[in-house]
Amino acid sequence: MSFFKFEEDDLFTNTIEAYPDYSFYVQSGSIYLNNRPNVSGVKDATNHLNVPKGFISLYEYNIDRAGDFIYPFLIKDGNKVSFRNTTGSAYTSLPLKTVISSSYKMSASISRNFYSSSTRPRIQALKNTLNHYTYLSPHYAYSSSYGDKASQGINLISIPSIFYGSSIKKGSVRLKFYMSGSLIGELHDRNYNGELIQVGPEGSTGSGSVAGVVLYNEGFVTLTGSWGLNSDSIAYDTTDTSKWIYFNYAANDGNSATLTSLSSSFLMEYKGVTHTQTITMFARAGYGDLNQSNNPTYLSGSGGHDSGSLHYVETPRKIKNVVYSQFSDEEPEFKKTTYISKIAIYDENKNLIGITKVATPVRKTEQNQFTFKLKIDI
């Protein structure tokens, strides 16, 4: 085994920016993430992931279990470490060595809050944030000639960060409003400035108008568009024609969709932005390197020794000639040949910290050299 030191040009640290697609389809109060159906399990008839429908399971541990769940626990000691479901005062009152347990049924999904009255704590909490982004568009303003978010009917859609990463990608947000399967309205942040502009269907009521704004970094969509997208009235928060303020109705907002002859459904699509740091390492095997192996199979014969009362001499062993020949009765000319099967990474103290395996062993002779590209996410 040979050790080589990585040089400055052999190590690179990069950040990969990716844009994963997400879609939420809401119909009759059911949420479908990325068009995945809700799969019922054998033991858990609701959802085999053991979380509510349309939710992502954080750990995906308790797959299809009705009981006997995997759960974490710890024993109280002096380190003040506990789970979030144990309050500080409850923790303090517990005696030492008490078993404190939690649950792995952690899940997340989008939620909706509709406000028509002046009591709107979640909107008020976003006041500074909304005003901050007025440099992108005046439609962000909490109160302006475009509307007063303190009093107008407003629809707040909250997207947990597990569904987008660092931020929502500008220009990727599309909201589609369907009535009985027909598209009656589509919003798109086509100007990359957070304004959700109605872009379809062509010639529809409100086409070209701004129906809301997107908080890209915070994961919120606020919708204030209150023009009727068609003339049919059905049960939303109130019985009314379809409007953007009712978008995603019954999506984790405490309402249950009422069955009517007309049914609305909603599709929200966007891309997230994720950053993954990677280290790329170039491991080089030069012409004169790695042409010898300590593997026992590198030598032919079993070896042996000659010994007596005054001497001990090991019998020399020859390197096995593995050069290919078309002739079975003639040994080909010997060439030192090794096969590289794995590359190990060591720290400065020669502690093994990682192993890379190649898919198939790479044949190495004195006539060729290789550079192996190793990449690891950090």
Partner: protein, 350 residues
């Protein structure tokens, strides 16, 4: 950050490292490994050297791998293996190399029933291995928590009528350390339902490697340890018969058919550093935040004699070059004035 104020931490007094052991309870009912999903959660491979068990049909992306089952037969075994001999020997030798190690001459050591290798004693040459997934084992299996209940009735059809419970009763204080892969404990079988064991006393029946997450179970738990040997398949074959005459996958099927319950706890070591950030009465009472001023006057003071007040929302941790490398946020702003002092405890887990 506009409102930074640097204060050095005293490494000796303000910084302390702690270690917390976090555990998980892992229950695996027998119906998961045989029954609920038929064989949809059981994966056999073309190489035939082991069988993988999942907690859900393995073609689903939701499925988690939970353990592998294989069998090994040592060179000193009394069994005459006719089916997959070399594979069973190779598995035994490989597991022995990794888990037991070598003697002074470089020969692979055999699994020892009581772990006392130098003293000789009974060796385990016909072994059923359960290799648990790292997802379940995490850092290690918690000592003294392993319990495997096996149905050992003689009848194959009514396998669960009589059961034994296999536990690492030597557990938390009686474990052994003479393995290359860490600590291990001796597994003992006791009667759980009925009295199927040959004799009343607890019987040593295998070894449990805590950090490696491997259970090495002697095949005699279905044979000589019992009053009457268990039928391991519908053909009525004994454990020795399927070890010698059947493939490894058949032995794995036979074991799964008789697994009633499996339960253990695992352990994860959480390392933390706690920084005690001390805020004295005369510190952090002012802010450079723009909102602290209104018309060039301190907003929180209405007359010159008023005490200054600030609200602490964030603690930034900086390195020696004053480069920010972590921030800790308070759940709600903390009112700070000249008549109050705080110690803010910042914990960094890694």
């Amino acid at each position: 950050m506009a409102d930074s104020f640097y204060k050095s931490l005293d490494i000796g007094k303000d910084v302390v490292s702690t270690r917390t052991l976090l555990h998980e309870a892992i229950p695996l009912t027998g119906t998961i490994v045989s029954g609920t999903y038929g064989t949809n959660n059981i994966k056999n491979y073309a190489h035939g050297m082991f069988q993988s068990v999942y907690d859900y049909p393995y073609l689903s992306s939701s499925a988690n791998h939970i353990f592998d089952i294989t069998v090994g037969v040592g060179s000193n075994s009394s069994l005459t293996v006719a089916n997959q001999l070399s594979k069973k020997k190779n598995i035994y030798n490989q597991m022995a190399q990794v888990l037991v190690g070598y003697d002074a001459t470089g020969s692979v050591l055999r699994f020892d029933e009581d772990g006392d290798i130098l003293a000789g004693g009974d060796k385990l040459d016909d072994i059923i291995f359960l290799n648990f997934s790292r997802l379940l084992v995490k850092d290690e299996i918690k000592k003294g928590t392993f319990s495997l209940k096996l149905g050992v009735s003689a009848s194959y059809a009514n396998a669960m009528l009589q059961r034994i419970n296999i536990q690492d009763t030597s557990g938390s204080d009686g474990y052994l350390v003479n393995s290359p892969v860490g600590d291990y404990g001796i597994l003992y079988a006791t009667n759980d339902t009925g009295t199927p064991l040959n004799g009343a006393a607890a019987k040593a029946c295998g070894l449990l490697y805590y950090q490696a997450g491997v259970c090495a179970l002697t095949a005699s738990v279905f044979g000589s340890l019992l009053s009457s040997s268990a039928q391991m398949n519908s053909g009525g074959e004994t454990i020795n018969a399927i070890l010698t005459g059947s493939q490894i996958s058949s032995s794995a099927d036979a074991l799964r058919h008789r697994m009633f319950n499996l339960q253990f706890n695992n352990t994860v070591e959480l390392n933390s550093t706690v920084y005690f950030c001390r805020v004295n009465h005369n510190e952090f009472n002012y802010s450079t935040n723009p909102t602290y001023l209104s018309q060039s006057k301190i907003r929180v003071k209405t007359q010159a004699s008023d005490q200054p007040v600030s609200y602490i929302t964030t603690v930034g941790l900086y390195n020696d070059n004053n480069e920010l490398y972590a921030t800790a946020k308070l759940s709600e702003p903390l009112r700070k004035s000249s008549d109050t002092e705080f110690t803010i405890r910042v914990r960094l887990d890694y």
